[in-house]
Amino acid sequence: MDLKEKLVSSFLVFEDQAEADSYVHDVRNDAIKIFEEKGFPSKKEEAWKYTSLNKILKEDYSIFPKQENALEYRDVKKYFIHDIDAYKIVFIDGKYSSHLSETTHDGIDVCLMSAALSKPKYRLVIENYFNKAATKDSLSSLNTAFSKEGAYIHIPKNKLVEKPIQIIHLSTGNESATLLQPRNLIVVDENSHVQIIERHQSLTDNAVLTNSVTEIFANKRAIVDYYKIQNDNANASLIDNTFIKQKRESVASVHTFAFGGKLIRNNLNFYQEGERINSILKGVTIIGNKQHVDHNTLVHHIEPNCESHQDYKGIYNENSTGVFNGKIIVEKEAQKTNAFQSNNNILVSDKATINTKPQLEIFADDVKCSHGCTIGQLDENAMFYMRSRGIPEKEAKALLMYAFSNNVLSSVKIREMKQRITKIIANKLGVNIGFDL
């Protein structure tokens, strides 16, 4: 039985057990039909031309974790940004770990999707927002069909949430192959500000496939800063589907740090439903070996006077492959749009590959749109310059790569987060130098 058949046949059992009202029940049933009809995407589809899921779909994934697994904080502490005070929503093999988490209902809701989907007090929010931003593509639909657990964050209006919220998915590898489908819903009401950090981490080399959907709603004048740390093991793959709907004068930023994993696909979609919206998409990718990272972005400018800024840096070592596919749509009504996109890449090895493709569809006539992509090697003159000052080759390379990504890093607002990313980069590049600038 292939994975698609297995999933479709598991659905009935899943739906029987899941506690949910009829609204969610209907949404799930519609979603499984879409997945059944479309199946997993193949390279024949334009959006998947450079990324094949074939290999990772061959594993015999266990779809529902058989047992609850516990972990001690000291063993997984390093995957947290632990030197700041933060809310934590932690999952172990897809199940909520109250032991490792720190949730709240004090003025804001930082809790669980399973609670939100089943308790009447969240019903209104669920009906207004759940599955209202996610598209009907096959992978998001698959996630919707099995949506049960994940983070549920609701910030009412005029709240400045001082503590960042960390959403951490750990997998223990107790099964030889695990499929995880977390589902997050984040609603930020008028004039509120929240910072969220998301990380997926497998603790063994057993195969893990995560097909995650995150819906984010930034209402009027809300500010949402979202950080994704993707630094997983060599057999962990991630398909991240993130959908952000913004209302007028809101600012939403997503930083994606893709440093490891077997295959990572980021489907990041912004929809601007109001005037004077700012959307910020930034990313640093540093991978090697046979790793593959695919950034597939969409910014949909629907209303006038909005902005979007995209800045993705990629460093590809050994025989790694990268994809950047950035689509910007500017609707006819979206006059005075400022849309910028830039994708710069360094191929460190001649076996590494990057496919970069900007796609602009502009229907308005009074807009500023720019896009640029570069693919290059490390500057030989800069290397000699640094080495002639006593900085060894490896360190000089690392420093150049770090400097190359610095534009993106400098806009990270959480200091400890920036330090952590810096450390991960140094580690990844095998050097022990402080990049503190």
Partner: protein, 250 residues
């Protein structure tokens, strides 16, 4: 300190250095002059260890050790410093962070611990003052958007920080106005001692009014064709290089 014997080098299969002989002793200042394309910058880069430049023959001995096979950073660790004619812009790396990394990597190579942050800061401030460098300048990205004078001053600042045994100044005077020239020369002179040496590579004589050489060599067509004292520099300034070429050809 430095002994170059019959050094020959190619750049992209073209012979640029055709048998250089040069000896530099501690405490000496040597000037290497010559027309454009005579191989001055190539000589500097070959001594510093640029990999694209292939030494085909001869030897470079530094403090009794053949260094021809050493990587650029290993030569730097031994105390060779090259001030670039065109310092490279490195956006995203600040002057401070760069020099800190250079110093600590050099210390690491010598088996020393990192320099304590406090000492580093003091050293940076002292040397910045020596070259009349504004503190704000130190947090800017290395050479990015620097004027010609700022770039050269920054080179000498790094030299002051690294305290090399042998400093090679490649066209350090180009692009400098008279004030910047004086500051740079003053910095170099203050760093001079009986234990270190300087090779000044220049097309013009004017820098040599400030950094006074013990020996002047004229490079032509990849060879040192004439050596003398500082008077030779004056003669070249007056008469140009043509008479040297004629003398060689005769």
């Amino acid at each position: 300190m430095l002994k170059i014997d019959n050094l020959q080098a190619n750049v992209e299969d073209k012979a640029i250095l055709r048998g250089i002989n040069l000896e530099v002793k501690p405490g000496e200042v040597h000037a290497i002059m010559g027309p454009n394309g005579s191989g001055k910058s190539t000589l500097a880069s070959v001594i510093a260890g640029k990999e694209e430049y292939e030494a085909t023959n001869g030897s470079i001995v530094f403090e009794g050790e053949e260094i021809g096979e050493l990587a650029a950073e290993e030569r730097a660790h031994k105390g060779i410093f090259l001030s670039f004619q065109y310092p490279v812009e490195i956006p995203g790396v600040s002057v401070t962070n760069f020099i800190k990394t250079a110093i600590n990597e050099t210390r690491k190579a010598k088996g020393l611990e990192d320099m304590p942050a406090k000492d580093m800061l003091k050293l940076i401030r002292d040397k910045a003052d020596l070259l009349e460098i504004d503190r704000k300048f130190l947090s800017r990205s290395l050479n990015e958007g620097f004027s010609g004078g700022e770039k050269k001053r920054n080179e000498i600042f790094q030299m002051a920080m690294l305290e090399p045994k042998l400093a090679i100044l490649d066209e350090t005077d180009s692009g400098l106005d008279i004030d910047a020239l004086r500051i740079v020369a003053n910095g170099v002179n203050k760093l001079k001692s009986k234990d270190n040496a300087v090779i000044v590579i220049t097309h013009y004589q004017r820098l040599l009014d400030y950094i006074v050489p013990d020996f002047v060599h004229v490079l032509h067509n990849g060879k040192i064709v004439k050596s003398g004292t500082k008077e030779l520099a004056h003669e070249l300034e007056e008469k140009g290089y043509d008479w040297i070429k004629e003398e060689v050809n005769a």
